[in-house]
Assembly symmetry: D4
Homo-oligomer: 223 residues x 8
Amino acid sequence: MSNKWEIPAEFSDVVRLDHDRKKRRGFPEAILTERKSNDQINQIVATRDPESRLIFTRVTQSQFEHLCQLLPDGEVYEEARLFIHPAISKPENDKQVLVITAGSSDYPVGLEAALTARALGRQVEILTDVGIAGISRILKQIDTLRKASCIVVVAGMDGALPGVVAGLVEVPVIAVPTSVGYGAAFEGLAPLLTMLNSCAPGVAVVNIDNGYGAGHMAAQITR
Amino acid sequence: MSNKWEIPAEFSDVVRLDHDRKKRRGFPEAILTERKSNDQINQIVATRDPESRLIFTRVTQSQFEHLCQLLPDGEVYEEARLFIHPAISKPENDKQVLVITAGSSDYPVGLEAALTARALGRQVEILTDVGIAGISRILKQIDTLRKASCIVVVAGMDGALPGVVAGLVEVPVIAVPTSVGYGAAFEGLAPLLTMLNSCAPGVAVVNIDNGYGAGHMAAQITR
Amino acid sequence: MSNKWEIPAEFSDVVRLDHDRKKRRGFPEAILTERKSNDQINQIVATRDPESRLIFTRVTQSQFEHLCQLLPDGEVYEEARLFIHPAISKPENDKQVLVITAGSSDYPVGLEAALTARALGRQVEILTDVGIAGISRILKQIDTLRKASCIVVVAGMDGALPGVVAGLVEVPVIAVPTSVGYGAAFEGLAPLLTMLNSCAPGVAVVNIDNGYGAGHMAAQITR
Amino acid sequence: MSNKWEIPAEFSDVVRLDHDRKKRRGFPEAILTERKSNDQINQIVATRDPESRLIFTRVTQSQFEHLCQLLPDGEVYEEARLFIHPAISKPENDKQVLVITAGSSDYPVGLEAALTARALGRQVEILTDVGIAGISRILKQIDTLRKASCIVVVAGMDGALPGVVAGLVEVPVIAVPTSVGYGAAFEGLAPLLTMLNSCAPGVAVVNIDNGYGAGHMAAQITR
Amino acid sequence: MSNKWEIPAEFSDVVRLDHDRKKRRGFPEAILTERKSNDQINQIVATRDPESRLIFTRVTQSQFEHLCQLLPDGEVYEEARLFIHPAISKPENDKQVLVITAGSSDYPVGLEAALTARALGRQVEILTDVGIAGISRILKQIDTLRKASCIVVVAGMDGALPGVVAGLVEVPVIAVPTSVGYGAAFEGLAPLLTMLNSCAPGVAVVNIDNGYGAGHMAAQITR
Amino acid sequence: MSNKWEIPAEFSDVVRLDHDRKKRRGFPEAILTERKSNDQINQIVATRDPESRLIFTRVTQSQFEHLCQLLPDGEVYEEARLFIHPAISKPENDKQVLVITAGSSDYPVGLEAALTARALGRQVEILTDVGIAGISRILKQIDTLRKASCIVVVAGMDGALPGVVAGLVEVPVIAVPTSVGYGAAFEGLAPLLTMLNSCAPGVAVVNIDNGYGAGHMAAQITR
Amino acid sequence: MSNKWEIPAEFSDVVRLDHDRKKRRGFPEAILTERKSNDQINQIVATRDPESRLIFTRVTQSQFEHLCQLLPDGEVYEEARLFIHPAISKPENDKQVLVITAGSSDYPVGLEAALTARALGRQVEILTDVGIAGISRILKQIDTLRKASCIVVVAGMDGALPGVVAGLVEVPVIAVPTSVGYGAAFEGLAPLLTMLNSCAPGVAVVNIDNGYGAGHMAAQITR
Amino acid sequence: MSNKWEIPAEFSDVVRLDHDRKKRRGFPEAILTERKSNDQINQIVATRDPESRLIFTRVTQSQFEHLCQLLPDGEVYEEARLFIHPAISKPENDKQVLVITAGSSDYPVGLEAALTARALGRQVEILTDVGIAGISRILKQIDTLRKASCIVVVAGMDGALPGVVAGLVEVPVIAVPTSVGYGAAFEGLAPLLTMLNSCAPGVAVVNIDNGYGAGHMAAQITR
C-alpha cells in the first residue's frame, strides 16, 4: 500500500531495558517474547548489559530463528520455548530445586521451570508423570522429595498434586497450574482454584502455565 | 393489614405428590423442605402414600418442630437437617456404602449422605477427617475402602480426595463438593471443578452440599 | 537451528505407566493422547503390560496413523477419537449399559462412552436423537430404558434430558454435558449446571465431553 | 447528630413519573419498590395519574404498611410482594394466560406473574408442582396447556420445564428462572442458562425471579 | 488406515425426525446443521414429511453445496446461513413482524430472524443501523415501530436498544444479543445481561446470535 | 477474656496519611472508612494536615457518631454516607458538573458523586429519574445536558443511560454502574459491562457504586 | 450455487451514517470496521459528509487494501489498525495528551489511542515500556507526566500502572486494559478489574484494547 | 424435640489429628476453627500432641471463650482471629520476615500472617498503609525491605503492591489478596488476578484473606 503513513518520531516504540535490575534484584532480566516484533528484539539485544544473561520466554518458531542469527551462541530449548544467552553455566550453590509434573502433558511447563532455575544458578532435578490417580507413584519418590530445598509442582486438570506433596515435606512448594485438560478445566482455572485452596499449608501459586515464574521463585528461595 | 386480598381459588398452590414414584423408581419421595410453608408441609403429609417413606431434606429449625407435631414418630437428625418418617429400618441387602469426609467440617454433608442411603435400605459406614494434607490417613484405611460396594467422598476447599480414593479402588466413587472453605473456594466452585476434572476415572459428581443426592445415587448403585 | 541444546538426561520426560492399575482397580489404563508426542506414545507402547488392554482417548488424526503403525491390530474409531488394543472382545456379563444422546450432534461423545464401556467388558446399546423438544420420542422408548442396568445420558445446549430420564427409571444415570451449542451454552457450562441441579435424584455428572469417563463409570456400576 | 447538613435544593431527588406511559404503551406504570424511601413513595402516590392503575412490585413488609395507610383501598398480595391500586377488575378479553411453576417453592414468583397479568386485564390460570422429575404430571395437563394463548413457565434448579412445555404447544412460552435451589444453581444462573439454550424454539426468557416482567409480557402477547 | 473398525449396527446414529411436530406445534421443524455429517443430512432429507417445510440453520459453506444437490429447488441465504425448502411462500396473515438491528454488523443475525419469520408465514420488515449512539435515528422511525405487531431487536456491544424500543411501543419485544463487539463484550455476555435487566417491561430474551429462535417466537406471537 | 495477649509494638497498625497528596495531586485525601476501627479514625484525625479538607466515604452509622464527636463542625450526609470536614465552601470556578441518575434508587450514589465534586470545588447540578424506559424524559433535558462541562451518569440494572447521554453531548461522560437491580444484574456486573461496551465514544467507567471516584474524576476534568 | 435467492429489497442492509454527529458532538464519526462487508464500506464512503473526517478502526488487511483504492489519499496505520481520511492535520490547541504503555506489547493499543487523539486535533506524546516491575522507569518521567493535560495509560497483565500514575499527577487518567498476557489474565479481565479497583482516585476505564475510545475521551477532556 | 434420634456409633464424627505432622513437616498443626463444634474442639485438645503447639485460625467469638476455658494459658489474638497454645516463644533464627499491608483495612490479615510466622519461630516486622496510591510511602522504606529474608505483601482492591515490592528486592514475595474493597473487587477476585499476573517475577500467591498460609510459607522459606 503506497499511502502507508510514517509514524512520527515521538510516537515510536522505545524498549527500555531495566539495566539496573541485575544489581537491584540479583537476577538477570527475562523477556516475554511472544508479541514482540523483530525490531523490538533487535533493540533489546543491542542495548543489553553484556555482563548479564538474557532469558527469552514464550519464543515462537520464527523468533527462535531470528534469535539464532542475532546471538549464534545462545541456547534454544524448543519444547520449553526458551532462548538463553549466554549458555547456562554451573550451579552457584548445592541446594536442589525439584520440579515435579503430574502428567507427561505438563512436561513442557515443568521444563520451562527447570531450565529457568538452572539459568539462574540452581541445581535442578525433574520428576514426571507421578499424578495422584496412582498415588503410589509419588509415595515411592519420598526420598527424592525430601532431598530438595524447594519443590515446584506442575499440574493441570484437577491440580491436586501440589497439596499432596506439600503434606509430605518440610520445604516450600511452588504450584503451577497448567492449561492441560478440557471442558470444566476452563483453560487452567480448575487447577488454579484447587491449588489456591490447598488444604496443606506451604503452597503458593503462580499464573497458569507460568513455568518461568515458578523457576524464578524457586531460585530466589534457594539462594 | 386489613386490606389483604384473598388469592382466588384457581391461583392456590397445589402440592402434587408424585404418588407413582415409589413404583416407577423403586425409591420413596424426598421433599426439599427449606422454602416450603407449613401449609404446604401439611398438604404433603395429608396426601402421602402410607406405604411409602417420606424424607424431608434441608429442614429448618422451625420446620423440625412443625414436623414433630405432625408426625410424632418421625426421626429428627438435626446436624444433617433430615426428618425421616417412618423410622429407618433394617438394611435390605449386605452391600456396603462407605461415606468419607475430607475434613470434619464436611461431616454434616457426609451424614446427610449416609442417613439417606440408610433410609433407602443400605448398610453404611462413615470415615471422617482423612483429607490429603496427611495422605497416610487415607492410605491406612485401604481395607475399609476395598470392602465397600460404592464410595461417597465429601470434600470442600481443594476437593482433591475423591480422585485419590478413586485411584485406589475398583468401585464407583460419587463425589460431593461442599461449601466449606473461603476466598477462592467460591462457595464450593473450587472443589466442584476439581472433582469434574479428576485424573482418575470412576468419579461422578453431584451438586455442592448435595449429600442427599449422593446417598440416593449410592443406594441405586448398590441395589 | 544448529544451536539447539540437548536437554540433560535428568530432565528427560519419563512416562510412568501405572502397571499396577489393572490389578488395583480392575480396569486397564487409558491414555489422554491429544498432547502426547510420538516419543511419549512409543514409550507407552514399549512399556505396556501385555496382559492388559490399552485405551487411547482423544486421538488426533496424525496420532491414529502413528498408532496404526505401532500396533497394526489395534482398532480405530475415528468419530469417537479412540484407539483400542487389543480389539474389543465379548462382554463379560449380561448387564446392559444404555447410552442415550439428546441430539445427533452429541453422537460422537455418546459413541466414546459406548465403546469405552464395551472395551471394559459390558453390553451396550445406543439410543440417539431423543431430546426433550419432542418429549414423546423418549417416552416411546420406556421399555428400552427399563431393561438397562445403568444409563449414560449425553446432552448439550439445555442439558435437560438426564433429569427426565432419571425420573423414569430405577437405575443410576450418568450425565455427560457436551460442548454442542453456541452463545450462552458457554462451551458446555450451561448443560453442566443443568445436570448438577437436576430435580430428579439419581443423576451424577462427569466433565464436559467426557464420554470416556462416563463409559468407565457405567462399567464399574455394572460389574 | 446535630451537624447533619441539609442537602441543597438542586440536589434533591425528584421522582419523575412517566405519565405518558399508559397512552404510549397501553399499560399502567409499575414501581420497583424495594429500595424506595417512604418520601419517594409519597411523591409517587401524590403525582400519580388518577386514571391509571399503579402496581408496586417487590414491596417490603414496612412498605406494605405505609402503602395501606396511603391507599387504603389498594390490594395487598404478601406472598407475591405486590400492592395494586385500584383493585384488579374484570378481564378485558377472553384469551387465557397460563402460569406454570415447576416446584411449589417457585410459587411466589408464579403468583407475581399471574397477578400482574390479571392486573393488566387478562384471564389467568395457575398450574403448580409439575416439574420434570415426574414427567407424567405435566403430560396429564396437556388439555390445560392447549387452551392457553400464552404460557409463563417458572422454574428454578435445572430450569428444564419451559423447554418441555414449548415442545408440546403452539403458543409462545415466557420462561422465568428463579433463585430456588442451592450450590451450583448459583442464585438462578443455572436455570437462566438452561432456558436460554432451550432445544425447543418458542421460548424467550426474562430476568431471574422476574414474575412481574413475565406477566407483563404475557399480557402484551395476549392483547 | 486399514484397521478402521466398523461401528456395530446397534451403535449407529439414528436421526429421529419429529414428524409429529408440525401437527403438534403448528410449525415445521428446523435443523441446527453446523455439526451434522452429510450422512445425517441425507437421512433427514430422506425421511422428511413432504407436506412440511424444512429449515436448515447455521449451514456451513460445504453443507450449502451438499444441500443444493439434494434439494435443487431449495433457497440459499448465505449471509443468514439458512437453507429453506420448499421456497418461502406468501404471508399467511397481515400482521407485521419488524426486525431492528442496532449496528450493521448485527445484520446477519437480524436477517436470520427475518427470513425465519417469513418462512413461517409472516410479513416482515427490517430496519438497520439505528443504535442508541445517535438516538434520533430510532426516534425518527416511530411510525414504523408502531405499525408492527411484534418487534425483534438485535444488538451486540452494550445491547441497549431493546430497552429503548420497548419503552416506545405497546407490542412485545424479542431481544437478541449478538457476539458483535470485543473485550468486555465477552462474546455476547454483555448485551445478554443488559437485555435481561431491561428497565422497560415487555422485553424477553433469546440466546446469543439466535436469530432463528427470535424469528420463530415472533411468528408464534403474531399467529 | 483474661488471656488476651498484647500485640507487640512493632506489629501495631500505623496509619500513614499521604500528607504530600494535596500538593502533589491538587486534591485533599479521602478515607474509605467502612472497615476502619475508631482507633484508626482517631489517628487519621490527629495526624491530619490542618490546611486540607478530609473526606470520609462509606461511613457507617456508628462511625458517623464517632466522627461528630471528634470533629463537631464536620458535615454529615447520611444518604451519601459522607462526612466532610471542614464544611464544603464555595465553588472555585464556574464550570458545571452535571450528575444524572437513571432511577431514583440510584440517587444515593449520585449524591455521593455530586457532594464529592462540590467538596473539591465544583458547581454541581443533579438530574434524577430519567432512565431510558421513557426516553422522552432525558430528551426533554437536552438544554441542561449541553450546559455542563462534564457529566456523571449513574445507573443500575441495564446501565444503558450513559451511552444515550454520551451520544447527545460534546463533553466527557463518567459512567457509574450501581448495584441496584436483582437476578442477572449480578450486583452491578450487568451495568458495568454495558457501560464498558458503550457504542458511543466518550464514556469512561469507574467501579460499581463508586460515586466518590466519579465525582473526583469530574472535578479533575473541570479544573 | 445456482439457487441463491435474492434478499428482498425491504430486507437489505442500510448503513445510516450519523451525519448530524459532528455538529451534535463536535467530533467526526468512527467506524468499527472489522465485520463490515466491502459493500457496507462503499456505502459509508459514498454517503459521507465531505466536511468531516472519517476514522476507520480495527481495519483488517484486506479492508486496508479496499480503503486505499476507495480513498487513495487516506492514511494507513497498520500497527494501530486505523485508516484515517483526510490526513491528520495540525493540533487545534496546545494542551497535551500523554499516552503511556506499560510494556512494549501494549504499544499497538497505545498507538491507536495516540493517533485517535491526534486525528481529533490534539498534541500527543507517547511513553512506552515503563511498567511497575521497575518502578524507577516511570518515576524518572515525572516531568513528562506533569506537563500533560490528560494521561492515557495502557497496560495488560496486572494492569497496575494507571493507579501508580494517577497517584503522581493532578490530571485525569484514562486507563485502557489490554489482552496482553496469558492464563489468569483471562484476555484482559485481570487488568480491567485492577483498573476499576484503583486505590488512587482519578482513574476511569474503557473497554479492553479500546485505544480508540481512550483517545477520543482524552480529546474531549482536553478541548 | 423428643423424637431426636441417636446417630449410630459408626456414623459419629472422628477428629483425626495428624500426629505425625510435626515430625514429617517440621511445623505444628493448625486448625481451621470456624465451623467446628465445641465437641470437635474438645476432641482436638484432648488428643493433641503435648510436645507440639496448636494454632487455631478463624476463631469465632464464642469459640475464643470456649478455648480460654479449655486452655487457660493459650494466647488470644482477637483481631487476627488466632488462638495459640502454648504461648509464642523466642525466634529460632535471625532471618527476618517482613509483612506489608497496602491499606490499614488489610491489617487483620497481615497480623494473622505475622503472628503465624512468629508462632512458627520467626522474627517478624510489620509495615502498614504503604499502598501504591502514594508510591513514595513504599519507596521511603527501601532499607526495611532490603533487610528482610522473605516479604509477605497483603493487599485488597487493585492488589498492585506485591508487584511493585517484588521489583525492588532480591527475596521472594508471598502475595495475599484480601476481600477489602467493593463492587468489581468481587470479594477479592480482583487483587487475586492482579497478583497472579504480576509483571515482576518473584511473586507467588495464596488464597484470599489467607494470612495463615502466607505466614506459614514465609516461615518455611526462612528456615
